[in-house]
């Protein structure tokens, strides 16, 4: 009845990084029972050890270019590059968490295990080559994050954060599943490559199946759009970011965004690039929708960020805005022939954004007080005097988020804009650059407070050695990508999604 896959078809080596980390997470859950309550940092270091192993494994299979689990999972440079961003953000997130959890009195071993599980979910999402696997991965990454958001127990804001994230997230998952079901209905398969093959038949045939496909792809967009926080599915972001523990926000603001975009890019570029209403259309039918979402996200994210006074909320809106920039690349992928370039652009952007954003959150966390206050923009006043190195790094992070050259942010914007123009979406590119100017207004305010405003600087008591190291790594990544971008493009040049299409 059932075909039992052979080991060769499973090709576990391809998915080794994710499988190893999943196994390690489960083992760690048991090991943690034997770690004394006051020495939970051991668990954290063990978790980082697991991540390091997965990282090395990921580099080893980077050029693997094979299918695992009978084609449900794809191990290629796209997966590999995303894994770098995901594992990096998770390791940095744990580094940031160690002392933070202790000083805010919420240190528990499960925290690290949950982070590892979410990381595994993200990694599976990066490699998912099938709509069902995307869904399973989506849940695997989301459920730990719901729990973690509410980790600051006894704090109403954190509870609100967790509950809000959970309810809205559950809604979004439902949208996603419905979309996947409709696409299955139209094509009879959930594997992206097969979806692609049957779409050309459906499009040339016209009729009902195209309607199903359009509806289905729209619903997928809703579900994943929620994960990556694009307008109009962004409303949860500021509240969740504000209430959740800061190191967790640092992790999920980049990790789950990377995973969400991974699924979105792969589904759109591998599965649905030729989804057109008429066979004679020049671009994919979803391009206009994505285009509009990207434009709306850029405008709303950047403009609302202008009026924020809290760094966590500001970074929340800024993360919405950055989702808009990556969404530009997704829109560009709708033009035939631009898919690979758009995917590379998005990947470089995500990698640069990973380092920069985690760095920014790290500095915010360093000045945060034990009760979760002290993250207003005015708390940055005078930081360049009290903590010159920390302030300098924060300034670089802000410049990178603005997109000033010699930082990773510039390279990311550059490649995304280039893909957008290559796809012929000139108005979207114009919106992109104009909103970048708007973003300069609020990022520069942080720099103004740190360097130009007079006042007694915050001692940044939260900047413990592990936090400092995480910040240094984020800083090094940000600057390195900015000055020597060929290091990143050497990886991204290997990304060829369109080769999956038969």
């Amino acid at each position: 009845m059932f075909h039992i896959p052979t080991l060769e078809e499973l090709n576990l080596i391809g998915a080794l990084p994710a499988i190893a980390l999943a196994a390690w997470a489960v083992i760690l859950l048991i090991l943690d029972l034997f770690v004394p309550k006051d020495r939970k940092q051991t668990t954290a270091w063990l978790a980082i050890g697991g991540i390091a192993f997965a990282f090395v494994a990921n580099l080893l299979v980077f050029n693997n270019n094979s299918d695992a689990f009978s084609g449900l999972y794809r191990a290629d440079a796209f997966t590999g590059m995303l894994n770098i961003a995901i594992l990096g953000s998770s390791a940095l997130g744990i580094l940031l968490s160690m002392d933070y959890l202790k000083r805010t009195g919420m240190e528990r071993g499960e925290y690290y295990v949950l982070i590892l599980l979410a990381t595994v979910g993200m990694m599976f999402m990066a490699g998912a080559n099938d709509l069902i696997v995307v869904f399973v991965a989506l849940e695997l990454l989301s459920i730990p994050l719901y729990v973690l958001s509410a980790f600051r127990t006894n704090d109403l804001k954190s509870e609100e954060s967790g509950l809000k994230y959970f309810i809205l997230g559950a809604f979004a998952s439902a949208f996603y599943v419905y979309g996947a079901a409709l696409i299955y209905g139209a094509t009879g398969t959930t594997q992206l490559v097969e979806i692609f093959s049957s779409i050309s038949v459906a499009v040339s045939g016209g009729g009902q199946s195209v309607v199903l496909l359009l509806l289905g792809s729209g619903l997928l967009l809703v579900g994943l759009g929620f994960k990556v926080a694009v307008v109009p599915f962004h409303t949860w972001t500021p509240d969740v970011y504000e209430g959740a523990p800061t190191p967790l926000v640092a992790f999920m603001s980049v990790g789950s965004k990377a995973a969400g975009f991974a699924a979105l890019l792969r589904i759109m570029i591998v599965g649905l690039p030729t989804l057109m209403v008429e066979a004679t259309d020049l671009v994919a039918a979803w391009q206009t929708t994505v285009w509009l979402i990207a434009a709306a996200t850029l405008i709303l994210g950047n403009f609302v960020a202008l009026s924020q006074t809290n760094i966590k909320r500001l970074l929340a809106y800024s993360s919405i805005a950055h989702a808009g920039y990556i969404m530009m690349a997704v829109a560009a992928a709708g033009t035939p022939g631009v898919g690979d370039m758009a995917a590379r652009g998005a990947l470089i952007y995500i990698l640069a954004y990973t380092f920069t954003n985690i760095g920014a959150f790290a500095v915010a966390l360093a000045i945060e007080k034990n009760d979760g206050t002290g993250t207003d923009l005015k708390d940055f006043i005078g930081l360049s005097r009290s903590r010159p190195i920390l302030a300098l790094m924060m300034a670089v992070f802000m410049l990178s988020l603005t997109g000033i050259p010699l930082t990773g942010g510039f390279i990311g914007k550059w490649v995304v804009f280039q893909a957008t123009l290559d796809a012929g979406l000139v108005p979207l590119a114009v919106i992109g650059v104009l909103t970048s100017v708007v973003s300069a207004f609020y990022y520069i305010r942080v720099v103004v407070n740190m360097y130009l405003a007079d006042g007694e600087g915050d001692p940044a008591a939260g900047a413990t050695p592990t936090v400092n190291w995480a910040t240094y790594i984020a800083f090094a990544g940000t600057v390195l990508i900015g000055i020597l971008p060929m290091l990143v493009t050497a990886l991204s040049d290997r990304v060829v999604l369109s080769a999956l299409i038969p």
Binding site: F410, Q418, L421, V433, A453
Partner: protein
């Protein structure tokens, strides 16, 4: 222009970054070492840049000292630098102004008061690197990188060590210039995608031999939009009227060295950009827009002069005079002939020296009296004879007195404008009125500050010039006299390049009878 080995130009470009790195490892307490390192490095950079001039072949219109390394190979972007007759003088201007700006900071009161000297000199080094980079970059993206990077140190120089309203001025400066340059980013991307390369010489060659066509019929063609994308970024930097409103704030609030660099070098990034990018890449649009830009330029000339005359703040007067002087430069560029462009290039250098000098003088007075109000002075020449004498020379040079540097450039621009096929008599006439007005406000300033009775008690016992201050002013005086009396070698160094550029652009002037 084979790019092999290590070019002297790369050395000149990266010397300031060597200084930056050394400073990074000095401690704040080592104030003396910090200062002298910065000064030493900037002087070495100057000497190295003179070697560029020595090795420069005047008869070669193309690029020299070329260096090309991959930067983003898969996107067709490379670290590609080189200089021709246009860049050479501006690179030397930069390396000439920087040591003076740094030396003038040694005694700056504001550095004592606000501290953070290490950061200050590190920003100076970063700024010098980025400014030289703008003048030598031959890849559009690398150019943009340097262009944007100049913003950051200047923003901090104004914002941390500026006067009372420094934060406002710094933020305004940053946002205004960034808003301008971001449109250029799009234009660069578009040009690069069309051309398949970001290398400027290749793009220009493509435009010339017709393999790369930007449709350029009318004022609202693709070429015009691209032209404007670049021009607006440059016009804000220049600043061309009506994009000048950031300049008085930035100049007045900046510390002395900041003003000197701003006026001396940074404004030229804009005018240089127009000559380097707008004209050769978009010749049709340049021709079509020349009368409009020329009109803005003459408005700027008159407006800047007029507003200068109305000032009582010494520094503001000099700041507005820049609007007027840079109007001349833009006018000369859009005359689109050899006289105009060569004059404009020389005038960029002259303005850097003269106005840079004026800001140094204002700064020295400010250090002594802590005011920039001209009414507080009077009879300064009697109190400080040497200072007064140098001030007169610099003022006259800024005015364009024959025999001094300012005259040569202005005269050449006016001749170019007069004989231009796209501008012509009327523009030259209005600009000439501007020359007269500049004499009015500068002499008015000189009379108010230096002449008259030494009637105010505070002015009677001013501290005489320190040897460091003399050391700052003497090179300025020498440069004024050398360029004024011997302009020929300066023109000669750029003749070949300007000639080639003008030949390219003039093919696109419809009314010109093409000489076979």
């Amino acid at each position: 222009m084979e790019a092999t080995g290590f070019s002297l130009l790369t050395l000149v470009l990266f010397l300031p970054m060597v200084g930056f790195t050394i400073l990074l490892f000095l401690r704040e307490e080592q104030a003396k070492e910090i200062r002298w390192t910065a000064l030493g490095v900037s002087i070495i950079t100057f000497v190295a840049s003179l070697l560029l001039w020595v090795g420069f072949d005047q008869n070669e219109p193309g690029l020299q000292f070329v260096q090309k390394w991959d930067w983003l190979p898969s996107y067709g972007i490379s670290y590609f630098v080189g200089i021709d007759g246009l860049s050479l003088l501006l690179v030397i201007l930069t390396t000439f102004i920087m040591p003076l700006a740094i030396l003038s900071s040694f005694r700056a009161h504001v550095l004592e008061e606000r501290g953070r000297q290490k950061l200050y000199y590190m920003f100076m080094m970063l700024l010098e690197w980025a400014m030289i980079g703008v003048f030598v970059a031959q890849d559009l993206v690398i150019f943009y990188v340097f262009w944007e990077v100049t913003l950051v140190p200047m923003y901090f120089l104004i914002g941390i060590w500026g006067a009372e309203k420094r934060v406002y001025a710094a933020v305004k400066f940053f946002l205004y210039t960034m808003a301008g340059s971001i449109l250029m980013l799009l234009a660069i991307l578009y040009v690069g995608l069309q051309a398949g390369t970001f290398s400027l010489p290749e793009i220009i060659a493509g435009v010339q031999n017709g393999t790369l066509v930007f449709p350029g019929d009318g004022l609202f063609s693709t070429q015009s939009f691209l032209f404007l994308g670049f021009l607006i970024a440059f016009a804000i930097k220049v600043p061309l009227w009506p994009f000048h409103s950031w300049l008085p704030d930035a100049h007045v609030q900046a510390p002395t060295a900041g003003s000197v660099i701003l006026a001396g070098v940074m404004l030229k990034l804009g005018t240089y950009g127009i000559v380097r990018f707008c004209l050769p890449m978009f010749p049709d649009a340049s021709v079509q827009w020349a009368p409009i830009v020329g009109t803005l330029a003459v408005i700027g000339i008159i407006y800047g002069a007029w507003v200068s005359y109305a000032q009582t703040d010494f520094k503001k007067l000099v700041a507005y005079s820049s609007v007027s002087h840079l109007g001349f430069v833009v006018l000369g560029i859009f005359a689109l002939n050899a006289q105009g462009i060569a004059g404009a290039t020389l005038q960029m250098v002259n303005h850097g020296i003269s106005t840079g000098g004026l800001f140094l003088l204002v700064g020295m007075l400010y250090e002594r009296r802590h005011t920039k109000d001209m009414n507080a002075f009077g009879g300064i020449w009697k109190a400080l004879p040497l200072f007064g004498g140098i001030s007169l020379l610099v003022t006259l040079s800024s005015m364009g007195l024959p025999g001094l540097n300012g005259f040569i450039g202005e005269f050449s621009i006016l001749m170019g404008t007069f004989g231009s096929d796209v501008l012509g008599f009327f523009f030259a006439l209005v600009a000439t009125i501007g020359v007269i007005l500049s004499a009015v406000y500068l002499l008015y300033m000189f009379q108010k500050v230096y002449m008259g009775e030494l009637d105010k008690e505070e002015n009677k016992h001013l501290e005489p010039l320190h040897w460091q201050e003399i050391a700052v002013l003497v090179p300025i005086v020498i440069a004024i006299l050398v360029i004024g009396l011997q302009p020929a070698p300066f023109f000669a160094s750029m003749d070949a390049t300007v000639g080639a550029l003008v030949a390219q652009v003039r093919e696109h002037i419809p009314t010109v009878v093409q000489v076979p």
